[in-house]
């Protein structure tokens, strides 16, 4: 891999729960190349969402370093952090929770354009319409309330919002896990198409190794706060080296035609 777009090294994080100290991340290191997808996969509680939130600067780690395009991400403050946030976007599992439920689709998409000064007020409706079209939605949806549209449409709106700022990296945390399979397939195709067109890197967090493999160039497997494997996706799936990796491969339901 050439110089990675983002690399995280030695990330540790503990928190207290009911008086107990819980290690969420233990010396975790990952890297993702420009325009590629790193799949981050592991069982519940393995630390993958905590790591994703640290990369988004939503949680601070106890130790470790994150380099994003040559910049020490964890040291950024104020205006510099805000400028970098524009380049790292996110899509979560439940888009309704990520939006103001009373907002309209158009309002949700106009916000990042306004906050990051991307489009002048007069240009925003056209920019919103263009974003909706790009994610396969009818521009007429702009006037609808977020809670009125289907789960699949909402996740497309979340993706439209993420690409509104022309990011270099999108962190997707279980972004397709709640979708019906037919909807999921189309949203995955959309993500792959956007990556090809715009060179966006993804960190794709999921408990589903089969979906991760379908979309990822590289895969990192997490278990109990540690990265136990990190390598090209075909290698990890064909010959997992860790107990957690072998368990994940074995757990994928296979279509049995008997």
């Amino acid at each position: 891999m050439s110089a990675p777009l983002l690399s995280a090294a030695g990330i540790s994080r503990t928190y207290s729960s009911g008086g107990r100290r819980v290690v969420a991340l233990d010396n975790a290191s990952i890297a993702v190349a420009r325009g590629e997808t790193l799949g981050l996969v592991g069982p519940s509680g393995s630390g993958k969402s905590t790591l994703a939130r640290i990369l988004l600067r939503l949680i601070e780690p106890d130790a470790g370093r994150v380099d994003f395009d040559g910049v020490d991400l964890l040291s950024l403050r104020g205006e510099k952090l805000r400028a970098t946030r524009r380049r790292i976007q996110m899509v979560f599992q439940e888009p309704l929770a990520a939006f103001n439920p009373r907002a309209t689709v158009g309002g949700a998409l106009a916000d990042p354009l306004r906050i990051h000064g991307i489009a002048a007020p007069s240009e925003r409706p056209a920019a919103v319409a263009h974003l909706l079209e790009r994610v396969g939605l009818d521009p007429g949806l702009a006037s609808r309330a977020i809670h009125e549209i289907s789960g699949g449409q909402r996740q497309r709106v979340a993706i439209a919002r993420a690409i509104a700022t022309k990011p270099d990296l999108i962190v997707l945390d279980e972004a397709v896990s709640a979708l019906d399979v037919s909807v999921r397939a189309k949203v995955l195709e959309l993500l792959v198409g956007l990556q090809r067109e715009r060179g966006i890197a993804y960190i794709f967090v999921s408990h589903d190794l089969a979906v991760v493999r379908a979309i990822s160039h590289h895969i990192a497997i997490m278990d109990a706060g540690r990265i136990v494997e990190h390598g090209p996706a075909p290698d990890i799936v064909a010959d997992p080296q860790s107990a957690a990796g072998r368990a994940l491969v074995a757990a994928v339901p296979r279509l049995v035609l008997k």
Partner: protein
Amino acid sequence: MSETLARLSGLTVAYRTDGTSSIALDAVDLDIMAGERLALIGESGSGKSTLALALARLLPGTADVSGRISWPADGHAPLPGRDYGFVFQDAGASLNPVLPVGEQIAEVAQRHLGMAWREAYRRARNLLARVRIPQPDAVLRAYPHQLSGGQRQRVGIASAIAAQPRLLIADEPTSALDMVVQAEIVALLDELVREDGMTLLFITHDIALASGFADRIAVFRYGGLVEAGLAAEVLSRPTERYTAALIASHIDLSTPPLIAGGAP
């Protein structure tokens, strides 16, 4: 040929909300055979969970039911807990949060099998071991919130089979669990119904998960039965386009990657 455990004839369910009525299940005809493992497959809003709730007579008061469910083998509607056990998606919500899990399981055995409390409690301990809870003696005294999601689902299963029902209804029992735990729970359900000769009604959105152990598959969409048949036949020769599309949408480790060329 085995006997029919339950026969659904023209089963229709509509939910009333704010003066309007929406049909969740539309004139479904389906037989459930004694001893079979039948998977109900469908996406959101397909009616598969409504069917399970109707069968268990657990529908809310806002549901209007028409059509018929008959029980030819028993001649009477099944008694909850005694004649059928129900495993819910969210075991945490179906267990009593302020009662130790051993007492919850023992209560089922005491009520339905007429056991003395001490005997029922011993049965609860054995059931926890049977659903492969590590340290069953400690877990007997635990409260649901002290257990992991996978352990809670094992407790839910132990409670559902405590009175040795003929029918086990499992409604998306693994959808809230990660895949490794999901595989363990499905293997456990498969083993339990085989050993006890139970009939299993397994409701899932995951056609591959069902393909691993179901004898028959019934596919639902928009409240209607799309097709039903032997699992191998429905999966290898679907007669309906929707079933074929569901199969095509499935992603497993042999699905071609969506990204060109894989890793550079």
